[in-house]
Assembly symmetry: D2
Homo-oligomer: 346 residues x 4
């Protein structure tokens, strides 16, 4: 349940509502909003009779929330969330491109790639300092040294930097150097990591788990918001199915549904989603057409020399093609008008 406070309600009234919720045995969670104050009731297992709270002073109305996730739901927060990273707005009307090599490489090469992707139109830079590897004997990323390189990229190019965080212990080391902390597909339900990231004042890019349902994904995001971090960006990167013609099955069906159910921005990662560089551009198109608010793309000045994931890394020319495609797609009727239709017909 969501308790909506009147516009001119006082802090004392809010505190009284929270106390009443606690007396009922539930947990109150304040929900930030531009124009109104609201308090979410969590911890209940069955619907709550609204009358218990609706007549407290300062309460405008009580809204039932039908999903197990609360703060990520459009039922609770109707307008689109825009996550700001420096000058870049993720979730606004213009989709963004986040590009770069799979792993941080030498400083010179990494900087060369960053300048090239910037020139090609990328809004942010991505590269891994810590790499989760299936095989314990393979390259695990350059680690702390790579964080210094990311700092150089940021200073030299002005591009904000996205990089994956593997565990709670690494968070403090990453904060000074990284603008967006990425949670990878294998860690989507690493709840210890999510709880730690809920406490930092830094946007989190949460990839969908490779066998996660939509509800599980939104619940993982709920861990972040419930813990206090509302700057969350979702990213579809392909799921695991019987289909063996691609590295993963990019589940684009999920994109318009995320946009309908949640106010959080959603990106698509066609690089992992297909796993072959020759189909990244076309699936980037498809992702944008499905309503993604940005792309996460592995790109390199010399794709074949990438330290990792060479097979799915595109060259800079392909990235320029993606940018041109994005301009054509910008002419399409906006997805929010589609959503409006949805609400009529659904």
């Amino acid at each position: 349940m969501l308790v909506i406070m009147e516009k001119n309600s006082t802090a004392e009234q809010c505190t009284a509502v929270e106390a009443a919720i606690r007396r009922m045995g539930f947990v109150p969670l304040p929900v930030p909003g531009r124009s109104r104050t609201a308090i979410c009731v969590t911890g209940n297992k069955s619907p709550i009779p609204p009358t218990d709270l609706a007549y407290l002073p300062g309460v405008l109305e009580c809204i039932s929330v039908t999903k197990p996730y609360k703060l990520v739901s459009r039922e609770v927060h109707d307008e689109d969330t825009i996550v700001k990273v420096g000058d870049v707005e993720i979730g606004g009307p213009t989709p963004v491109i986040i590009a770069g090599p799979c792993s941080v490489e030498t400083e010179a090469r990494t900087l060369e790639v960053a300048q090239a992707v910037k020139a090609a139109g990328a809004n942010m830079f991505r590269a891994g300092a810590f790499k989760p590897r299936t095989n314990p004997y393979e390259f695990q990323g350059l680690g702390l040294e790579a964080l210094q390189t990311l700092q150089v990229v940021r200073d030299e190019t002005g591009l904000p930097v996205v990089s994956e965080v593997l565990d709670p212990e690494s968070v403090d080391a990453m904060l000074p150097h990284v603008d967006v902390l990425q949670v990878g597909t294998r860690n989507m339900q690493n709840f210890s990591l999510l709880k730690r990231l809920a406490q930092v004042d830094r946007p989190v890019l949460l990839k969908r788990g490779m066998s996660s349902t939509l509800q599980e994904w939104l619940m993982a995001a709920e861990y972040l918001l419930a813990g206090g971090n509302h700057q969350v960006i979702l990213c579809e990167r392909g799921i695991r199915t019987f289909s063996d013609h691609a590295r993963n099955t990019l589940d684009l069906n999920v994109v318009p549904l995320v946009r309908k159910l949640s106010h959080l921005p959603v990106l698509v990662d066609p690089s992992h989603g297909v796993g072959h560089r020759d189909r990244v551009r076309v699936m980037a198109r498809a992702g944008l057409a499905a309503g993604a608010q940005g792309l996460l793309i592995e790109a390199h000045v010399h794709p074949d020399r990438s330290y990792t994931d060479a097979a799915q890394t595109v060259d800079i020319d392909t990235l320029r093609g993606v940018k041109r495609d994005m301009e054509v797609l910008a002419q399409m009727e906006s997805i929010s008008s589609l959503n409006a239709e949805d609400r009529v017909t659904a």
Copy 2:
């Protein structure tokens, strides 16, 4: 292996090559081509030494075919196949829209829908006379009576008609009334049906099996071509995965790969692919962006009154939106130029 004959080779020389292939214990299959004659060697389990055939009179060269499917492969037939249905070209530069109700309904209502989808820009009409139903107690289609209705639609609107065929016995009854015979997802590996359809002079629309790999799908198409029917249209309609937020998981990754590996045209069916009418238009966009050469869409003048599949049937206004989207997407750089890039980088 594919034996390419010289342009001025004679019928006797072709016959001699075929006889030589048979003497080797294999089966020769002539491959129609605009500018050249070719003979495909099938039935071998290991590579064939080319020297055995390359020096026969009239033979230009012998090309190894690396896939188990032969006639559907671009290795054997490089240029895109265009399937002509009346004036409609499927597989050419302009994508097509095939729309209509899930099932044939009353003649008046069916005709009303057909006129509406034509006005909205559809190129062909679709509706089921025989419905494969999971539940034996549910409506199974109007059958032969529905075929008469399809005939009326064709006469009145001029739209070619697509309808599903469920078994070899129904083929003869359908041929006078139906322009394209559709094989549904449950019958993709109904080899008796495929063998029968291989013998008719009528285009076949072959939907992907809901748990079929790409290779199995192309092999099912190969049954049709190997039996003599080269007018085959492929259609992706979603696969079965753990993902429970949509009726199926639309596998758009497969579209650019089909276009790379095969010369056959490929469509997308967003209606079955997502299963909810409010996301059909956006997934139609995504399908076209992925390179689909057309769309198969369930549409109705009163979607909620559809005999079957009402939840995924869109209204005519949505269909007009799809048509507008298609016009914007037509401005994108062509998929064949993407393919050209592929061949450089792959």
Copy 3:
């Protein structure tokens, strides 16, 4: 809904009940039972008020059926169905072994295999005359000639014979030679075939579709029973998942659930379920332990020379091992007592 008639109800009373059901707009289906007469009401979309039928003369009671499948449900038919094939009882207390080569081979070799599997303890013989093959250029079975061979096997060994039927047209040709008609995984939802088989007086072995849910499988069986054929044997043979270490993922979880929900006997096919001969025996054990009432096993006197499926075909010695395992497992507490516990705890 199921209408249970009194023991001494008359034929006229039954007819009157059926007429009343038809007047309500539904379809009556008589259900055979040893000790009582019952009439199933089908075609309704919502629950039927029982009072409408409960007070007709001869009616004992009306029972609500909660599943979309009716005649296959234990709600409608409580005792286990036993399918008799010659002297063999499938579904009784002793599990059966059905073994033989994937395909019918030469008469001499096929007979040799049949005699060997009989000596090893098999109760029935299996071999394919018509083979559904993914690749159109591969061996498709010996066809009608193979049916003659199956006749010889039956005459010489006395073993009843199971063989796959691919299409409605072949049914008449198979009936004189085959004791159980098998519907393969690709044809589980070939409804034209199921409707034809519903009309024959011959047991049908219905394999689960490789991407079929339990409900879809039971609904496919319902097609057979609703059409009049109550001699149906189910067979789990593995489903299609992301898991790539075996040909299929044998879903043994389904076995006890089939036994709980349906009265039909259920077998397990470990040969297709695992796809490697060296793990067939151990998965046969597991299938029996899960409550399967029999096994379908590909076995051969010279497995490596099998015409088809050699990789998963076991030798006769392994089959003898399966028989010994079955004897140990016979000492376990019976699955029906487990079921009784279920009903207490569920």
Copy 4:
């Protein structure tokens, strides 16, 4: 590659071989063995010419290892690993039962359950102190307080205790109270956690990821062995597929294959594998029949009052039934003789 040293080789000779491996640019990993010393070569991307190492003093022979996992492979370590926990041997000839509630509850209730499962024949006790929950608002376990309770259980009953560890930070707090550290399905590829657990002298129970391939699972175990912890127990608990009739699809096919490819012991968890208490016992049977060396079962004196996972928690009577089943299954021919057959036929 694996370098096998002679029985009477010296420590200096081993050091020299390790140095030679490092000079080649690879990483040497000593492999403990009862009767012989061996050194595994890791970090190579292509086969290594054996001649480079085979002629060093003290080297008996060099064996090529064909899998990406090394130390977990039977190629490297032929005899079964037995993990000893107190007096309990996991991986020996007698399968073990690990039982207890999903979560640690009150001390009195937890102790009551532990005494009951011990009396029913369980060899070890399981209960979660830290619970990974999809929903952030649900019960997350009693935490540190629960660890004290586990200590009491151990002291009072003498049963060794298994409990799940969620993150590297909790390891130190758990070590004094827990005998086996469990890694749950969501953390199978939490490499930071695996690296930390590689450094402790405590057995680890590694559950299979719900969408993990067999190779990925063995590679996760390899992280533990490569880091120095050879006391690893594997546990199959069901995978995620389209099949919706059970909470998970228990993949019993994997059990005999793990036993063939690896020397590590493998258990089955039928509670999570099926998700319904009424089918836990029958799937426990099936797991043992497939060759599992033990079971992990959620059991409680009052299943319906379990804090978590009540639906899949069995009562003590059912646990006694599992124990009786285990005694019958003990009469079967041993799986190692099956393995011997495998090696002949494979």
